[in-house]
Symmetry: D2
Subunit: 147 residues, 4 copies
């Protein structure tokens, strides 16, 4: 993990997301307009057939989208999800999943991002298991708690 100012800014907010630590997710990479979040497979994120639950996949994809947009917003901004849509392309089977969020367009108030979630398993090619398209909103947190 790098320790650029951009990374620090996202990492600070990420650390306060209890759900992401509940799921075991961690911040993998932060670049201009791009954020990757890793979700290791664990029993805690399972759905009824033993795959990762769509809700867990959506949680990391949504956060990757939000943070990808945040990297292109003015300092002190916070980002909220307006809405997201996710297609589950294949059963989420793997040892770990990586959500790659990418800012598509960041306006003054509204931002649009997309994310793909890729499953990794030793000895197998990576497989895209989900595709998200999301709308985010920039907010000015009055209390100084950015991100």
């Amino acid at each position: 993990m790098s320790s650029t100012p951009l990374h620090a800014r996202v990492a600070d907010s990420f650390g306060r997301q209890k759900l992401l630590s509940t799921l075991g997710a961690r911040l993998l990479r932060v670049a201009d307009g791009e954020v990757e979040i890793e979700l290791p497979w664990s029993e805690a994120i399972q759905q009824q057939h033993g795959f990762a639950h769509a809700g867990a996949i959506a949680a990391v994809a949504d956060s990757a989208c939000g943070y990808a947009c945040l990297t292109r917003m003015p300092h002190g901004s916070a980002v909220l999800s307006v809405e997201f849509k996710v297609n589950l392309l294949a059963p989420a089977v793997g040892e770990r999943f990586v959500a790659r969020g990418r800012a598509v367009r960041v306006g003054r108030t509204i931002a649009v991002a997309s994310a793909e979630v890729v499953a990794h398993s030793v000895g197998k090619p990576e497989a895209c298991v989900a595709l998200m398209q999301a709308t985010m909103m920039r907010v000015d947190p009055r209390n100084g708690a950015a991100g």
Copy 2:
């Protein structure tokens, strides 16, 4: 909680969803074409501003949609999420959240459902915090593990 055959059928599958127990969710009500899932507030589901994370809200709404459709599918069917879209209408603040899933149209293969997630707090009117529209798919589990 009732103990109708319909309820038992959903409860059996629900009990195998580890993510839902990780989040603290529980099955509240099962009726023909309608399922309610409760998510009590806890630190474990928080996002960075102290609200419930959109991913946790999406997880219970998605499950409520899927099970609402399952109640109208032939016995032995299982249901998978094809895609869902969720609008976050207001910050998810409350003591507990209830996701109310409703089957809109259940076809032979494809089903469509919608859900709203309502926040409850003592002494306050209930507030709708999220709205979902989802597409589900019926599958015939070969191994007999329905739901």
Copy 3:
């Protein structure tokens, strides 16, 4: 058609939507938070199997959503579509279609609406052929051309 101020306000904007007249759509009903638009069947809106094209269905549903929100925005506001998602529930067969838009939540900047599109045919029960969930944005038109 009524001639309330609310109706006049929507009708004025509706009249400037060339696409809607290209499709043959007309404004049916305007109420607080609710707008109905009618789309008569014609060859001009057909897709390759002889049904109404999803794009035509989406056009009237999107407009019904936008105007439903506009009825709850301050005078002089204009409304733009941020995004919409539409499920096609059944082949769009009928003599006429009615898109019923309903404002779900209208905030200062962002609004959320839903719409259903119902097909009507003489001698048959009405059938819901599409369901939309949409996000709208309020804008202040500088040039005074509201709506």
Copy 4:
């Protein structure tokens, strides 16, 4: 325009889409998993502010998604839209718009595609005005009318 068998197969279906000719759209390019549709600006597709209406943009994006999937389906297949979601990224201003559909995953029954719609104006850089994520379904037309 090429005259490959793949192109001919899509063009045949495209020619039966009356809505697309009503809007003035034409088939620009067909390749394996990729289809481009052009929509020239005209008054007929305008919304109330003089931009192209979101419904017209959605119509060409939806068709580009559907045909992109069709190129990867067995001969004799037809494709229907299950649902689509479109973000309007910027006002649709331009002399012509090009919807570029791309098949993301084509399964036995369900297919997922994405599309971007780009605006072209002489002397200006191209601008992405819309982003779509869509779910399609393969059907076996009994009457032999494929596409």
